[in-house]
């Protein structure tokens, strides 16, 4: 439980620092920390496979795409500073987010959730997951495969330099 609290603080700290940072590269790297923390959360909950998938996809792949995008859209300055758009917008965003946070936390604390605890960590082996993916979730898996292929081709077509 203490470990869980520590990871939670780490995730939230890294994510807030990332969103508030003026250095885009630092933002991206801090977000990678937050994503790794989320993977640790999954690991704690017993979702081993999902945790490693999260680490592989976010820490390994998405972070690289983000960093490459930051470098490719940099304008001269090495520090890549980014201004806040306007004070009005920032204040408005904080008010909205604070309101949402208040409502959500209030709802969570007010709900009778204690009843569901107990049950030991459910052991779902990789084999079971694989059978599920190839069984009842096979259509979804196919669609995700098509989606990823289309996204890959689309990303290349959009980002590629036009010739002539």
């Amino acid at each position: 439980m203490i470990a869980l609290l520590l990871i939670a603080l780490l995730i939230l700290g890294a994510a807030s620092a990332a969103i508030l940072s003026r250095n885009l590269i630092h933002s991206a790297l801090l977000l990678v920390g937050a994503w790794a923390g989320i993977a640790a959360f999954y690991l704690w909950a017993g979702a081993e496979f999902v945790a490693f998938a999260q680490a592989l996809v976010y820490v390994g792949a998405v972070s690289m795409v983000v960093l490459f995008a930051v470098l490719l859209t940099r304008q001269g300055a090495t520090r890549a500073p980014v201004e806040y758009d306007s004070v009005k917008r920032a204040v408005f965003a904080f008010i909205v987010a604070g309101g949402v946070a208040g409502v959500l936390v209030g709802a969570i604390m007010g709900s009778p959730l204690q009843g569901h605890i107990a049950s030991p960590t459910p052991a779902v082996s990789v084999k079971q997951l694989g059978l599920l993916l190839m069984g009842s979730y096979a259509p979804a898996l196919l669609i995700v495969g098509v989606l990823l292929t289309v996204a890959l081709l689309g990303a290349i077509v959009i980002a590629a330099e036009e010739k002539g």
Binding site: I38, V57, T73, Y84, I108, I117, L129, L147, L148
Partner: protein
């Protein structure tokens, strides 16, 4: 004392709000996209929380949902960042407010 489930949910809702601030307050398109990614991750945390403490953990529905959600998020990041690079090439800017030529 709060239960682990409540801790999970609170972390996920706070993470969602951090992402929301990123998406609303920042003007850099990349940061807005990252804020949206964070919100997606917060939703994934909820799926895992309810899978773990829900009535049917053996069915692994929550895990399945998160796996598919990660795949979709990866596709979203790839296409989104490709769009940002394309916009940057045309307008020399990554400010979200400046990509408004289709605005009525």
């Amino acid at each position: 004392m709060i239960s682990p489930l409540q801790l999970f949910l609170i972390v996920s809702s706070l993470l969602f709000c951090v992402g929301l601030i990123g998406a609303l307050a920042r003007s850099n398109t990349i940061l807005v996209l990252l804020g949206i990614e964070l919100m997606l991750n917060a939703a994934n945390l909820n799926f895992i929380a309810f899978w773990r403490y829900g009535p049917h953990p053996a069915a692994a529905t929550g895990m399945m949902f998160v796996l598919f959600s990660i795949a979709v998020a990866a596709a979203e990041a790839a296409v989104g960042l490709a769009l940002i690079i394309a916009v940057h090439r045309h307008r020399r800017s990554v400010r979200l407010q400046e990509a408004n030529s289709l605005k009525g």
